[in-house]
Structures are given as structure tokens and as C-alpha cells.
Amino acid sequence: MSSIEVAGKMMETDEEGYLLNLAEWTEDAAKVLAAAENVNMTDAHWEVINFLREYYDEYQIAPAVRVLTKAIGKKLGPEKGNSKYLYELFPYGPAKQACKIAGLPKPTGCV
């Protein structure tokens, strides 16, 4: 068991750095989680993170990558609706890395 420190508060994470208690997630936590992944959070990153959180709120699942790219393309413009764009933002993959930063459940590794 590991933990991260967010604004003076300790939050537990699992071996791979996913938050154990998703309810603890804050924007500050996202910044700490991103830093641990060497991801420098820009507005473009936040767009995707916020999109993922909204999607999860509405549907209770993290979208599959192809669903994410299609939905992002529709919402944020076709130039952003492709996996190349998303992999540039999150080099280890929008499913794993962006979900971790967004405080969504760890993907089971299904497919």
C-alpha cells in the first residue's frame, strides 16, 4: 500500500498508483497523480480529464478508447477526436493513465 500527499492530506493508492477511495479525488489530487506519471497538466489535459469524469458521472463507466475518441471529437472538435491526440496527452494510454488522474476505477484489463 502506498499513498500520496495532497495539500497536506494523505490519500491511499494501490501498487499502480490508483486512488483507493475515489471519493477523495480533488483537482489537487489530479495534479499530484499526474506529476507522478510525468504528465504536465495543461488545459488540453483538463479537457479530457473533465470529460472522463462527466462521462463516468452520467454512465457509471469509463468509456472504451474508441468511444472516448468519438465522443471527444463530437464535443471538443474533430481535431481532438483521434487516438493520436489522446496518446500525445497521455503517453501510457487514455484508458490507464487518464483514468488514474481522473480518479476513475482502475480498468480491469479486460479486452
Binding site: M1, D14, E15, E16, T108, G109, C110, V111
Partner: protein, 130 residues
């Protein structure tokens, strides 16, 4: 003919995994091919090597393992269902920070896509469950 088999129940509580085993054995004896046996829902519990039934009862897990070995069967345990129920191979146990693993020989953990793929590639899919 090539079959895919889905086992949706655990051993001992329900007869489903016994029937599935007897079906698979008969299919193989009859010269058919089993493309994949996929264990889902409580069916993942067929794959723990820590089952110790009394000597006068069948050992369901060992029976599956032997069948897999004798016929080079592809026996897949669904990763999402396995994680819920504590069936781990070495890699998953490590990924989850657990101190041991319990998967039996002949079984391996993989994604649900393997079930869909088995259904696509086989001539028939047969489901055993509760």
C-alpha cells in the same frame, strides 16, 4: 466440429461445471475440437488450486487441469470476474499487491474479449450455468 464452452457457475454448489466437464470430455472423445473453455461469473472458482474435496468426492479443479493437459485446451478465466472473487495468477497478484496466487495448472487469466472471440470462431457455443 469446433465448440466454445462457457462455464458460468462454480464447482460443487451447482452441477453446471460437472455437466460442462462431461460434455467437453464427450465432445473430445467424439473427435470434436474445443476451441476454448471460458470461465465467467462464479465459474472462475473452478480455477483455484486450493480446493481439497474429501477423497471419495471428485476433484473438479484437477479434472479440468488434466483435461486441459491431455488435450492442450485453452481454458480462460475472466479477469474482471476473477478479481472480484479472488482468483489470481502470479502476474495479477503482483499487480494488485497481493501476497500469493492460486490459479490451477491449465487455466489462464484473460479478458472478456476471449469469450466473444471464442463465440465468433467456434461453430457452436454451449453455455453451462445456474
Amino acid at each position: 466440429m469446433k465448440f466454445a464452452v462457457l462455464v458460468s457457475e462454480g464447482p460443487y454448489t451447482h452441477q453446471a461445471s460437472d455437466t460442462a466437464y462431461n460434455f467437453c470430455k464427450a465432445a473430445l472423445d467424439g473427435g470434436h475440437e474445443i476451441g476454448r473453455i471460458f470461465f465467467y461469473h462464479d465459474g472462475v472458482n473452478n480455477a483455484t488450486r486450493y480446493t481439497v474435496p474429501p477423497q471419495d468426492d471428485r476433484n473438479i479443479q484437477q479434472r479440468w487441469s488434466k483435461l486441459a493437459q491431455d488435450h492442450q485446451l485453452d481454458m480462460v478465466v475472466c479477469i474482471a470476474a476473477a478479481q472480484r472473487r479472488g482468483i489470481m495468477d502470479e502476474k495479477e497478484a503482483k499487480r494488485q499487491g497481493l501476497d500469493g496466487h492460486n490459479i490451477a495448472p491449465g487455466f489462464h487469466i484473460s479478458g472478456l474479449g476471449q469469450l466473444i472471440e471464442a463465440g465468433i470462431e467456434a461453430d457452436r457455443l454451449v453455455v453451462f450455468g445456474d
